[in-house]
């Protein structure tokens, strides 16, 4: 009894050990096939791949890709819109610059014309003033010459009278008596010749 129980106790761990050995040996034998080529796992892998990949495909197709496509489309739209806007603004700016330059050129031409006109007008004015002044001076000169001539003639005439008076006085003082005025005048005239 004692022996048998001891034997039993001894054999039990041995049996258990044998079982664990068998337990570890058994999977080893099962997995003798290289795991990726173990056909027993194929149905499970195919099924779960179909399920997961199917869900993934649907999720991407329905949710993710429309969203990504929309984001990118919106950006492209926005960029083309902005580029158009920029091009339009550039065109406007160019037009404004061209208009400004044209106005500037016109203003320059106008200024030149006005300057020229003013110059011409001033020249003509000066010319006419000069001519007028010259004519006036000419006239004044003529008048002055005429007055000089008349004064000279008058003076000359008075020279004759003075000479007659002087002569008559001298004659009266030298000869005495009265003198004939007309005789003296004739004498002065002949002497002054």
């Amino acid at each position: 009894m004692f022996v048998t129980s001891a034997f039993a106790q001894e054999t039990a761990p041995a049996a258990a050990e044998g079982d664990t050995h068998a337990g570890t040996a058994m999977p080893a034998a099962e997995h003798e096939a290289f795991p990726p080529f173990d056909a027993k796992t194929f149905p499970s892998q195919i099924l779960w791949l179909v399920i997961t990949f199917g869900l993934f495909y649907l999720f991407l197709k329905r949710v993710v890709m429309p969203r990504l496509g929309a984001i990118i489309d919106v950006r492209i739209d926005r960029i083309t819109q902005d580029l158009d806007h920029a091009a339009r603004l550039k065109g406007e700016a160019d037009a404004a610059v061209a208009a400004y330059e044209q106005e500037l050129a016109e203003a320059k031409a106008n200024a030149n014309k006005i300057g020229q006109q003013a110059n011409d007008a001033a020249k003509a004015d000066a010319e006419s003033t000069r001519k007028k002044l010259e004519a006036e001076l000419e006239k004044k000169l003529g008048e002055a010459e005429a007055s000089i001539a008349s004064i000279k003639a008058k003076a000359m005439k008075e020279v004759g009278t003075i000479a007659e008076d002087t002569t008559s006085a001298i004659v009266e003082a030298l000869v005495g008596g009265k003198t004939d005025k007309s005789e003296i005048a004739a004498a002065v005239k002949s002497a002054s010749r």
């Binding site: 990726p36 779960w48 997961t52 197709k61 993710v64």
Partner: protein, 252 residues
């Protein structure tokens, strides 16, 4: 147990989390299924939340989403023309799914969904199935012109047609094996080098000093795997675009 730790294949093992059996098939919710769910939840959440603002001037996250969207869109437009844009949702989800699954797989202790041939093969069959179904629906038997290139002498025609058919049939295989093998090999290599670090550092100070080399290698490989993760997603999407182009324009 110690051997198990550096077993590079252990990371690819599939174990059920919620056992489900339907009609004699084991369709349990496994760690693989869990990471498929993680992949789509993460990808969807990122795409959804980063674009929630619908900002005219995008932030960083929105830029990433837009870049992915325009990247795939341009890829498809270049390969298949404007008509091809009807397949944009398919190509975009394939690209995002593969990319995010690859990237998630880079985290330690995470399961790489795309490291299983059946997953990549199912995706490839989806692509080729779409090509064949759309090709026949659009062009009827004219779709078979795909296998008859122009300007081939009649004598050579049977040979050329046979080659074209074989190349078409091998497409799903090459498409799936390329992605699967890249992910598998990359993760095994990473695991092996990381395992060297652990086992070398068990040999005292000298071992720890020596383990610097495989550690540097593991770091470099991680960078390489990051590139491969993106590249393989890109290649998968590009080839999908080209195959879809065949469905749209079968007569070359």
């Amino acid at each position: 147990m110690a051997a198990d730790k550096v077993d590079p294949i252990h990371q690819f093992q599939i174990h059920p989390l919620i056992p489900i059996h339907i009609g004699g098939y084991d369709v349990s919710f496994t760690n693989s299924s869990l990471f498929m769910v993680v992949t789509i939840v993460l990808a969807s959440a990122f795409l959804y939340m980063s674009t929630a603002g619908r900002a005219l001037i995008p932030g960083r996250l929105q830029s990433v989403s837009e870049m992915a969207y325009e990247f795939v869109g341009n890829m498809l437009r270049d390969a298949a023309g404007k008509q091809g844009m009807q397949f944009f949702p398919l190509v975009f989800s394939l690209f995002m799914f593969v990319l995010v699954a690859n990237l998630i797989g880079l985290f330690p202790y995470f399961f790489t969904v795309t490291s299983h041939i059946i997953v990549t093969f199912t995706l490839a069959i989806l692509v080729i199935g779409t090509v064949v179904a759309y090709g026949f629906a659009k062009h009827g038997f004219g779709f078979l012109k795909l296998f008859v290139p122009h300007g081939v002498p009649a004598l050579l025609l049977p040979l050329v047609v046979a080659i074209e058919v074989i190349s078409f049939v091998s497409r799903p295989v090459s498409l799936s094996v390329r992605l699967f093998a890249n992910m598998l090999a990359g993760h095994i290599t990473l695991k092996v080098f990381s395992g060297f670090v652990v086992s070398l550092s068990a040999f005292g100070a000298l071992g720890v000093a020596g383990s610097v080399l495989p550690l540097a290698m593991a770091v470099a490989l991680t960078a390489l795997e990051l590139l491969v993760a993106f590249l393989q997603a890109y290649v998968f999407a590009v080839l999908t675009c080209m195959y879809l182009n065949d469905a749209l324009h079968p007569s070359h």
